[in-house]
């Protein structure tokens, strides 16, 4: 009961700062909208400029250019202009030169070589172009070889839900929402506890007739309620504005969000225990939140990380949190199936709480 009383008291204090509450949602929403606009243009590789020098002007070159136009921003230019776009202005990662007589040779079953002028510094765009060229090459080869055998055909079946494709938003919205929740929790727990010391509140509380666990637990519970609401509202915003899937079970989603924020709140208390002043809270909080978000797959998928970092990532709270959220909203997994992740998160929270309780000498600084 004392823990609940502390929680309610802290919740009342938090709710007094209306602007702070609004900022908890507005700031992440602004960031999510910027990220969504930047990553969900819908153009994909179509925004990549691909100059083509058509020295053939025949039907094969025309057919190839038509095929490339479906995937890339193709521009027919002279050889000089192509070299300038790739080498001087770096507007294009590569340019293709289709040689004279390409169509004649193709129809006469004779091989031709097309030149690809590249700027390897634009490696990501270059990779996309090479994938498109590989597809075009495969289609052309099958035209020339009518007996080519399709020994392996891939047919896709989604066995983790009812959607076959997802956009980058499915990564970015939960990822950035979790990152902001973690950041908010680390700052709010650290700063709130330090402010209580400055105002002498902690000194008074330390002599109150209640156990430290109830005291710290009550304070963290208040932050937990706010954090859970923040996470759920951000996901719901993503659902209504960007069509983010939330899974089939609202109960599962709420429970997973509760477990995720509970573990993060307790973890924030451990970070707060190491922060001795308000000035330390900002750099330490930022560093912890960004490192955990980067390694935990909140900014980008885990496969983007080197193997060694993926091994480290598998031990982090953010990795388990993201995995649990994605399992429920994208893969429609039930609570039973995500129970392992939930247990790990709860264990993470409990251990963090015990460490925080041990490290956080409530009121000591006030006494000293």
């Amino acid at each position: 009961m004392k823990m609940v009383a502390v929680m309610l008291k802290d919740l009342r204090l938090i709710c007094r700062d209306r602007f702070g509450l609004v900022a908890l949602l507005v700031v992440p929403i602004v960031v999510i909208m910027v990220v969504a606009s930047a990553t969900q243009s819908g153009d994909g590789s179509k925004s990549i400029l691909f100059p083509i020098v058509n020295e053939d002007q025949g039907p094969v070159a025309t057919a190839l250019i038509r095929a490339f136009r479906e995937h890339l921003d193709v521009r027919e230019v002279s050889r000089t202009a192509a070299q300038r776009l790739v080498a001087d202005t770096n507007d294009a990662p590569a340019a293709l030169i289709l040689p004279p007589e390409l169509s004649k040779r193709y129809l006469a079953q004779k091989p031709s070589t097309a030149q690809l002028l590249t700027d390897p510094a634009q490696w990501r765009e270059l990779e996309a172009i090479k994938v498109v060229m590989l597809l075009a090459d495969r289609e052309t080869a099958s035209l020339g070889d009518p007996f080519s055998q399709e020994l392996l055909t891939v047919r896709e079946h989604n066995i983790t839900g009812d959607h076959v494709s997802f956009s980058s938003l499915e990564q970015n919205i939960p990822g950035f929402s979790l990152m902001f929740v973690l950041l908010t929790l680390i700052f709010s727990v650290s700063l709130a506890l330090r402010e209580e010391e400055v105002w002498g509140t902690s000194a008074r509380l330390s002599v109150a007739p209640m156990r430290p666990a109830s005291l710290l637990g009550g304070k963290l519970l208040a932050r937990h309620v706010v954090g859970t609401a923040q996470l759920l509202l951000l996901l719901v915003f993503g659902h209504f504005v960007y069509g983010l899937r939330l899974g089939h079970s609202p109960v599962a989603m709420i429970l997973v969000a509760t477990a995720v924020v509970a573990s993060m709140t307790c973890f924030a208390a451990v970070v707060a225990a190491f922060v001795r002043t308000r000035e330390q809270a900002i750099p330490v909080g930022l560093a912890v939140a960004f490192v955990l978000a980067s390694l935990g797959g909140l900014f980008w998928p885990l496969y983007d990380l080197p193997k060694s970092m993926q091994a480290i990532a598998s031990t982090l709270i953010t990795t388990w949190s993201m995995s649990a959220i994605q399992d429920v909203i994208l893969r429609d997994k039930s609570l039973v199936v995500v129970s392992t992740e939930l247990l790990v998160l709860i264990a993470y929270g409990l251990v963090s709480f015990l460490i925080a309780l041990r490290l956080f000498r409530y009121g000591d600084e006030a006494h000293s």
Binding site: G58, A63, S103, L107, A108, D145, F147, Q149
Partner: protein, 195 residues
């Protein structure tokens, strides 16, 4: 009126076949229809189907199939021969039609015709703004029309080219395996190949 109808029918049955088109005219008629299909706004697959239907009455795929198999032809059982010819019809039509579809708006030019006995060789060109591509048809009379028994594109014979691929395959696999491969690639189209 009734008498006029009878005269018209008799004319169609008796006189019209006697006025059989020349090999050049018949080739021109077929290629003009092909041009209309290729230049139309139909989807690629619709064009493919329309062209296949058009060339089914112009290409003597049975003769080409026998020619492509060469010495192997006699080693096939009658059932295998029948199935092979059905599948080869699909293969050849697609190979030829896909080449034709590379041209967005093919401009056919008729360079001339050489008559050698009953056969005729019609030289055509597909002219593009930058280039021209030679396509030669060897035709044989078939009633009041003509059937193409060989097509050469840029001096490469379609039949010889497919024949060399078939030869290569038959040096590595049995006739049954070849038919299975062809059935997998061409057997589902129209169902004719299975008959």
């Amino acid at each position: 009126m009734r008498a006029l109808s009878i005269v018209l029918v008799v004319w169609l049955l008796v006189v019209a076949p006697a006025q059989a088109a020349s090999p050049l005219d018949y080739t021109r008629t077929i290629l003009d229809q092909a041009h209309t299909i290729v230049a139309s706004s139909q989807a690629h697959n619709e064009k493919l189907a329309a062209l296949s239907a058009l060339f089914s009455k112009f290409l003597d795929t049975d003769a080409m199939g026998r020619q492509a198999l060469g010495a192997h032809w006699s080693s096939l059982t009658p059932e295998q021969q029948k199935e092979f010819l059905g599948l080869f019809r699909e293969l050849l039509q697609r190979t030829y039609v896909q080449k034709l579809l590379l041209f967005e708006n093919p401009n056919f030019v008729y360079a001339g015709v050489q008559q050698t006995g009953a056969d005729a060789v019609v030289d055509t060109k597909i002219v593009t703004p930058r280039d021209q591509f030679d396509v030669t048809y060897r035709l044989q009379p078939a009633g009041d029309t003509w059937l193409a028994t060989a097509i050469t594109v840029e001096d490469v014979s379609l039949t010889a080219n497919l024949g060399s691929q078939l030869n290569d395959l038959l040096s590595r696999m049995s006739v049954d395996d070849l038919l299975t491969l062809m059935r997998r690639k061409y057997g589902n189209v129209g169902g004719a190949a299975q008959s």
